[in-house]
Symmetry: C2
Subunit: 429 residues, 2 copies
């Protein structure tokens, strides 16, 4: 097949004419479809409905240690909630603090604590002339939003198939003491679906850092979010905590996880794990901020999910719903774009996204065309710091929310818009 780049102008013009017609026909349908955010679908949320029946007025509302979960207290979480969240965090319950409904809030507050109070006895970051951050791209827009809020200078670093470009990460961390951290979604990354290799994890743990208080923000958001039930088709991740202990950098990481995409986003529980020193520091600094988080919701989650095997079984039910959606996206992209040379995309084995790279300079136009045809995508550029993709190429596809039949229609629109934007661009040249 001839790629679009190789086609004679006349042939491209013919394609454009057909795409214009196709696009006009789509627009006439008045669609209202959404592939913008990584939200579970209604069918997925239904899987967790029993969660709402588990703590009724007749239930025992005491934790295993006798705590009445209806009253104040227990700032770091119920012991059984720590044990449950430890399975998501690849850690032991003693190193876990259970927070409220949002891991994003924990990450924001963790940056805030380093910023305002400092960490590990080092100067508060707010007192430094500059603070910089390594941001693997494409990455998660809300991570970038946190560091941007604090005025931290974000430095994009490319993602490879096995994690961030470690040569560049090592160069940055070693050469500049104002580089204080890195955002990582180490498993089924947002949006690329990449799982860091053991070598990448070990290099992160052992690399030389000019800043003694360099911190890896390890957002294991998709730790159990496999698309396939067969272990051979699931990614495995080396724990950063173990790697840092082995490397003699035990305080270098903060780990985060939540049940947001396990039970109910916004009504789940979130947690943090770190070294004993970092856990002690965090408990001390969070003491003035809260008397404790929602223990009834912690208890509800413990009784519903039970343990690692309970979570795994629940996630298999999620996978059964979303796997066909990812398969549909892959098929549509392949049927519509294979061989054209105007797009490449990820084929993740877990997580919530497909990362799509359009012809350079056409991502914004593609998203605009889709929007005008009634299909909302994540904004072009969102996967880069400051929403500035210098290639105007990356688009995050979030296939989980729409029902399969809507996704089918939305992907046809998307493919048409990718092609139309590319042809427009090539004809400009």
């Amino acid at each position: 097949m001839t790629t679009y780049h190789e086609m004679p102008r006349a042939e491209l013009e013919g394609i454009k004419a057909r795409l214009d017609e196709e696009y006009a026909a789509i627009k006439a349908k008045g669609l209202a479809l959404n592939m913008a955010r990584g939200k579970p679908s209604s069918a997925q949320l239904d899987l967790s409905l029993p969660l709402l029946d588990i703590l009724d007025s007749k239930a025992d509302l005491h934790a295993a240690d006798g705590t009445d979960c209806r009253n104040y207290g227990v700032v770091d979480g119920l012991p059984e909630a720590k044990a449950l969240m430890a399975t998501l965090l690849d850690d032991t319950p003693e190193n876990v603090i259970v927070f409220g409904n949002s891991s994003l809030s924990i990450m924001y507050d963790t940056v805030m604590r380093c910023w305002t109070f400092g960490t590990g006895g080092h100067a508060p970051w707010c007192t430094l002339p500059a603070v910089k951050w390594i941001c693997p791209v494409p990455g998660y827009d809300r991570h970038f939003g946190v560091t941007e809020a604090f005025g931290i200078e974000m430095i994009p670093v490319a993602m490879n198939d096995d994690g961030p470009d470690m040569d560049e990460v090592e160069r940055l961390a070693a050469s500049d003491a104002s580089v204080k951290g890195i955002w990582c979604v180490p498993k089924y990354s947002n949006p690329g679906g990449v799982t860091y290799s053991d070598e990448v994890v070990r290099r992160l743990a052992s690399m030389e850092c000019a800043a003694e208080d360099f911190r890896i923000f390890w957002d294991n958001a998709y730790c159990v979010h496999h698309l396939f039930d067969d272990a051979a088709q699931q990614d495995a991740l080396l724990d950063i905590g173990v790697a840092c202990q082995e490397a003699g950098t035990p305080d270098r990481y903060f780990k985060f996880a939540s049940t947001s995409k396990i039970t109910f986003p916004g009504a789940g529980i979130a947690a943090f794990a770190a070294s004993p020193a970092n856990v002690a520091e965090t408990k001390r600094l969070m003491g003035p901020q809260t008397i404790g988080h929602d223990k009834l919701n912690q208890l509800r989650h413990v009784r519903f999910l039970k343990d690692a095997e309970g979570i795994a079984a629940h996630m298999r039910a999620h996978a059964a719903i979303i796997r066909p959606k990812f398969e549909l996206v892959a098929r549509k992209l392949s049927e519509g774009l294979a061989g054209t040379g105007i797009g490449s995309w990820s084929n993740p084995r877990g997580g919530y996204f497909v990362s799509f790279d359009a012809l350079e300079g056409t991502a914004s136009r593609t998203v605009t065309l889709a929007k005008e045809a009634g299909v909302v995508m994540t904004g072009a550029g969102a996967t880069w710091p400051y929403k500035r993709d210098p290639h105007d190429s990356n688009i995050r596809i979030a296939p989980t929310l729409p029902p399969l039949e809507e996704l089918d229609e939305a992907m046809d629109v998307f493919v048409c818009c990718v092609k139309l934007a590319a042809v427009e661009k090539l004809l400009e040249a």
Copy 2:
């Protein structure tokens, strides 16, 4: 009756001998009673058990505007939750933001935002050489903990029967631009049970402030927490928002409230109200911190409490449980200490505490004696910034948690310890 101060030494020694015996007898009982924290009792928590049945798996989990409360979104709260919380905040729903489970966290984060980002276009407080705060005393220890965490210098100001000593508050606010705020529990204050008079509220709203970004932190924690059902026996509070609008200082206040002592502490909902400018600023700054709070819990609370009248009815049931406890405390103090000259106390019409002033220099000793006899009180000094009561006099009594029979016993212990500490002190002289 002769006060202890007026007694001849021999008579005091006789009293001490009898108190020593009484104390030894108490100690021998091996009690384990707690009047330390303002926690609702188990019987009070039972009042809210139906809250747990209201959102089961068969319930409609959509908000009135169609939002699926199981999924992400709605950063500032469900419209119906804003309407409910507006009744606690004496405000309109548009000026309300509903947060998570803790008003303390909202207050901490509000200080944090002023500290890190500044408010109203003014310099972030972290960039200033000094930040000071007016702290009416006795006051709430966790308030003082927040300002202490940020290194804000706390200046105690006396509470009168109608609120803080406004002459002193006005002098401090007008004379020093580094004075940036004041903690207020304006109704049934913690621990004094004082409700600010209209005049005090108006003076707070209209006073001259050297700092343009001076802020009143209006923690209306006990807004509906009356001990008596008869309106004539309930305190009324002028709204600070209205007072500030009238005084031309519309951005001077932040208001806070929660359902912590209405439904379940730690598993309730909390909210904030402020001027349109402050609400817009807060929404902008909280955007990077969270995708949204627990909407299922918001919906649960709306369906259970319904509206202002629903809350009032629910609070009457609380009052029926705790009123006898406050009456018991008043009776025990009066029977044991009236006329001795070694103690004075508040007789609140609402809230959660009785403020007790022991003979100067004996509060710590009293609390230690009580603790050694198995009765845990709030630490002496806790009602002052830095836990330093210069008079070593104030003790906060929290009568709500223990059942009535335990409270009866605990108050006997407390009265004995107050007397014993006083007699020891007077004999030292």
